[in-house]
Symmetry: C2
Subunit: 341 residues, 2 copies
DNA sequence: AATTAGCACTCAGATAGAACGAGTGCTAAC
DNA sequence: GTTAGCACTCGTTCTATCTGAGTGCTAATT
């Protein structure tokens, strides 16, 4: 168990390191107005904290830096959300005053606000397509052999798939197919479409439609799961200005992580809704050792819809980011629900 | 006018510098098997070429590096396209063997091929939405007050806009509107939709539709020009591994250029179809001084559809890139036309 | 018993000089 | 016109030294 003074020093040290990015020494701590003990005392305390694994040195005679365990402790026990100034609150709320016709635009704005006010990188996962439910299907014929299948979901999202018809198909057939689909698949989650098609609809379609096999192939194709996530980035390059990314190697491998699929998988794999903080290697991502990830979720009604995330260096301004991510996810949820009515 | 030998040396030097990224000296040139004059002679020639502005030194006693004018001369007078090996040709053609149902996928593949075979960054501008023509319009009602307007273009692209209906609208009204639009706006270019709506359709709609004003506002909104370009990147980080980008500052400013709108404007502003090479400062882009841009166009039928581009360092393997960009733009055009039939 | 002053020690980073080598331009000989 | 020779330049690399911010430990102080 840590003493009161150790807690005090721990918080001080992390806060200091977060802004300076330099190892913190006993002397610089002792110089502060709110510190009333000598460098030597502080050295003893820091040595104890180091022994417990909360602090590290970069070399034998350097100042201290929080270890991953130290950040974890800080985040779990010492973190108090930062108050935003009235000005900041106003300008954030202001961004949400506009009329939004599309869910996507709302998400994009949120990403922008988040990256601009944190100066880190924001990632948003859009509504999970697969969890949406089918509201309506339309088929539009482009030529004798080509058409577009339009899938409208309950959340107002619209997907479209280009399809190739069998040569011999007739307009009535298409209409019949669409009617059957709309009749039988309404409010079915998208990830279920394909199995429902093959299980329940096969016989109906076989009975009513010529070219049954080709039509089934076409529909199977259209209902196949592809690229299920919408991803919105903002401020991708912000994080590169951080002093921990002086090295070109590191920049490239971080950019590769950001472009890649693993990060998305990581974001989707949060165990519960609400706020999560993952520090450095807690994320099982190569090239992400120097970064932390703060995520939360947003929703419409009772549905879980998507994820809001901020990526910054391990040495992140946790209090501020926690406050901001919490705020914008609430604003986003609020506005989405308003829109939905 | 340059002598035969100067041309020879110029070509040699650029080719050498392109692979080594190091200033080229007279001795290293003289060591080549196909060079039969002494370092001193070469020095004299290089000094002349420098005086004419084709070469530069990085410092007083360094080897030579091509100047921007030198690259320009090389590209205009000394460039011969590189032959690809049979293996390479095969594996490129192979990528296009798959069935593509969507224009976008074809473009994406092209970007991928281009970036992987050049090891630079590929950017594709998709079909210019505004130049497409309207093929078909559909309206899908989501709720009493919300719907989706679906715009299908002649090139197989599908756009959708979420719209808010006036509260009092009836299903027949919507049907009537859609019928009128399909009747009057077929094959009208998208950029003309709005003006045609206001000029020709206003009176028809006023005569037939209740809530005329609100419907006009809704349609005006949907037909407004927004975010007209689709942009596909591939190999965004390839270029960062080039030795000219050791510096974090430069990386960040280059990434900002790549993310920004200016580069797209630059790409769209090519004076003619076909191949263009822009070297360093010839692109009027801050942070792009060390880069060159090679672009060409692709098309369906006689329509200009989009732009293919490769971004690399000024010290780019021009012969190879020219060959590749030419090849893939032809393959892309070919496959788009096949699809169109 | 806790705190602090004092001191020897460590180490990254900055600074300076020497040696090296790849390059140049110029001149004179071929 | 070409080339050998030579003095010179300058970036790079290596080594040595110095500096300063930091440490741990011990002994004195409170």
């Amino acid at each position: 168990m840590l003493t009161e003074r150790q807690l005090f020093l721990m918080r001080l040290l992390v806060n200091d390191y977060v802004v300076s990015a330099e190892p913190v020494g006993s002397r610089s701590i002792s110089k502060r107005d709110d510190v009333h003990f000598s460098p030597a005392t502080i050295r003893n305390e820091l040595a104890d904290l180091e022994e417990m694994g909360y602090l590290e040195k970069t070399h034998l005679s350097s100042g201290r830096v929080p270890s991953e365990k130290g950040y974890r402790f800080y985040v779990d026990h010492l973190l108090s959300p930062e108050m935003l100034s009235d000005d900041e609150m106003d300008s954030i709320r202001n961004e949400y005053q506009k009329k939004f016709s599309e869910t996507e635009e709302l998400i994009r704005i949120t990403a922008k606000v988040l990256s601009e006010f944190t100066n880190y990188t924001a990632i948003m996962l859009g509504p999970e397509l697969l969890e949406m439910k089918l509201k309506h299907i339309q088929m539009v014929k482009l030529s004798q052999t080509q058409g577009v299948l339009i899938i409208v979901t309950d959340t107002g999202h619209v997907e479209n798939r280009v399809v190739s018809f069998p040569e011999t198909i007739r307009a009535e057939d298409i209409e019949k197919i669409v009617n059957i689909l709309n009749d039988k698949l309404k409010m079915v989650p998208l990830f279920n479409l394909q199995s429902r098609l093959n299980d329940e609809l096969a016989s109906v379609l076989r009975a009513n439609i010529r070219d049954y096999k080709k039509v089934m192939a076409l529909l199977n194709n259209s209902f196949a799961i592809n690229d299920p996530e919408q991803i919105f980035y903002s401020g991708k390059n912000n994080i590169l200005s951080q002093p921990e990314f002086q090295d070109v190697e590191k920049i490239i491998s971080l950019l590769n992580v950001l472009e890649g699929k693993e990060i998305v998988r990581e974001l989707m794999n949060m165990p519960t809704r609400g706020l999560h903080i993952r520090i450095g290697r807690e994320n099982k991502l190569n090239g992400f050792e120097e970064c932390s990830l703060i995520t939360t979720t947003y929703s419409v009604g009772s549905e879980h819809l998507g994820t809001v995330a901020v990526i910054g260096p391990k040495r992140m301004a946790y209090p501020r980011v926690v406050t901001l991510i919490d705020l914008v996810s609430k604003l986003l949820t609020e506005n989405l629900n308003k829109q939905e009515r």
